[in-house]
Symmetry: C2
Subunit: 297 residues, 2 copies
């Protein structure tokens, strides 16, 4: 019986890699990909599929309890490839920015407790009614600078995630890898790095050169596809690798050539993926990963 891919329903093009398959050695399940799974279910699902790592989100970690989450992950023997997400520090109100700083300190504590060295930072959007994009970008850079000492103290690297311009107004004012690197390069690579997410930067002119420029600053490589037509909810527009327009082989070669040796997270936000049984989602992503990504690492 042929396995069917999620969410396309098309027959799988490659066999599902079995646990122990060396091609899975760097594959991480970002837990948002299986959003309907609890943290424990996601850990169990990753282990069952033979994955060595998981990318955690703060909200489900908080629901589970930080120490319990750490224990679940440790007992399962999984690496935590990253913690999503700090950031959201572009408020114009100084009190709100101070609160965001405090919240990011807690995120750093959580990352350290969970044993990951990468805290993913999503800068945040424009404050309501504020149209000064350059100002918001400056505040994001200042907030990152203010976090660096605490990050160093905890042995966590801040990973700036440039976001597709589709989210520039309401989610992430840092729009290109070049812009993220302009901020990161004020600091040492172990202090501030960047997240390379194919969905966000696939369209960026010169992105391969920017990946080479990033070099050891790449703290996380996240994969998912840009699909068209864009779903009605633009927050759920991230597709399964191979279902859209991203050239994963070329992207992955560039990331490998830059020296990245870490885990590769699959992070998909898509209503049909979320509605599917988690184990089938994980099986599909493992197949697509070995076909389109792993061979080029």
């Amino acid at each position: 019986m042929t396995a069917l891919d999620v969410p396309s329903g098309r027959p799988a093009r490659v066999a599902t890699p079995a646990p122990g398959d060396p091609r899975l050695a760097r594959l991480s399940l970002n837990q948002r990909t299986t959003a309907n799974w609890s943290l424990r279910e996601a850990v169990d699902g990753a282990v069952a599929a033979g994955l060595p790592a998981i990318g955690l989100w703060r909200e489900p970690v908080a629901e589970t309890g930080l120490e319990t989450a750490r224990k679940i992950v440790d007992d399962a023997g999984l690496r935590v490839s990253s913690l999503c997400r700090g950031g959201f520090f572009t408020a114009s109100d100084p009190a709100e920015r101070a609160a965001a700083h405090e919240d990011n300190l807690r995120a750093l504590d959580e990352a350290a407790t969970l044993g990951t060295t990468a805290l993913v930072l999503v800068p945040g959007g424009l404050p309501p009614g504020d149209k000064d994009l350059a100002g918001a970008r400056t505040r994001a850079a200042e907030a990152i600078a203010a976090l660096v000492p605490a990050a160093v103290e905890r042995g966590v690297t801040l990973g700036i995630e440039p976001m597709n311009p589709i989210y520039a107004a309401d989610r992430g004012v840092v729009s290109t890898l070049a812009q993220a690197l302009d901020i990161a390069e004020h600091f040492a690579p172990h202090e501030v790095g960047v997240v390379v997410d194919t969905f966000h930067v696939w369209w960026e002119p010169g992105v391969h050169e920017q990946i080479a420029r990033a070099g050891e600053r790449i703290v996380s490589y996240q994969v998912c596809d840009w699909i068209t037509p864009l779903p009605a909810d633009s927050l759920l527009a991230r597709g399964m690798m191979g279902d859209g327009h991203v050239d994963f082989p070329a992207f992955t070669r560039a990331v490998a050539a830059a020296g990245y040796t870490g885990d590769v997270e699959v992070e998909i936000f898509h209503a049909d993926v979320w509605a599917a049984p988690g184990a089938e989602v994980v099986a599909t992503m493992a197949r697509r990963y070995v076909e389109l990504v792993e061979s080029y690492l």
Copy 2:
């Protein structure tokens, strides 16, 4: 009785400028903003509102007939600020690219007949199944180069329109003003210029510097807003100026400082705008224009 703005339904903040108001001297109605009007209705609507110019699209011009369209516009005494749109020349099949070239020659003829000096070029997206974005961008640049002699012969300037990355896969592979200028600068300014459309480039890092770099290459300044949440149909995501996140005063100052003295086209694609009576749409756009754009020209 207070006028209500379209599509917000909120009371107008400024009085509607009357025909003859000198602040209307550079305002152009891009006819897609009143998509349900025929070409003749759009011309009549522009004249009734006191606008001196109109931006035409090839499809309604063809429906009306090219010579008839020219006569309607001439009789009304309107300038044609631009013709939308040539381009769509990224096909991987050489025969399709040759057909696109022929079609663009016809577009140049139409522009010359209509008396506009600006043909707006939308480069086109990735061919089906093709993931080589850099290759598609190269083909777009080559196709533009091949059009230059015919454009010069007809006295028409090719205006490359960089498109918001939201459309990089399916509509326009040139994603930034910087990238458009990299292509345009291989030619003289009267041969190849750029279209500055706020919706497409409002998020671009360093866009004000790129506008300054563009200088006399700006063949058209098009305004509409980036609104959130993004409507379900991402092709209809262009809002009325002031309803979204774009800083029109700052943008307009930059365009003016670059030396642009041409018409300013309002080009809105939005289901609620299209559903509203055309005259109310034109009245709203004239109010928003004098408030947010004209004062900064």
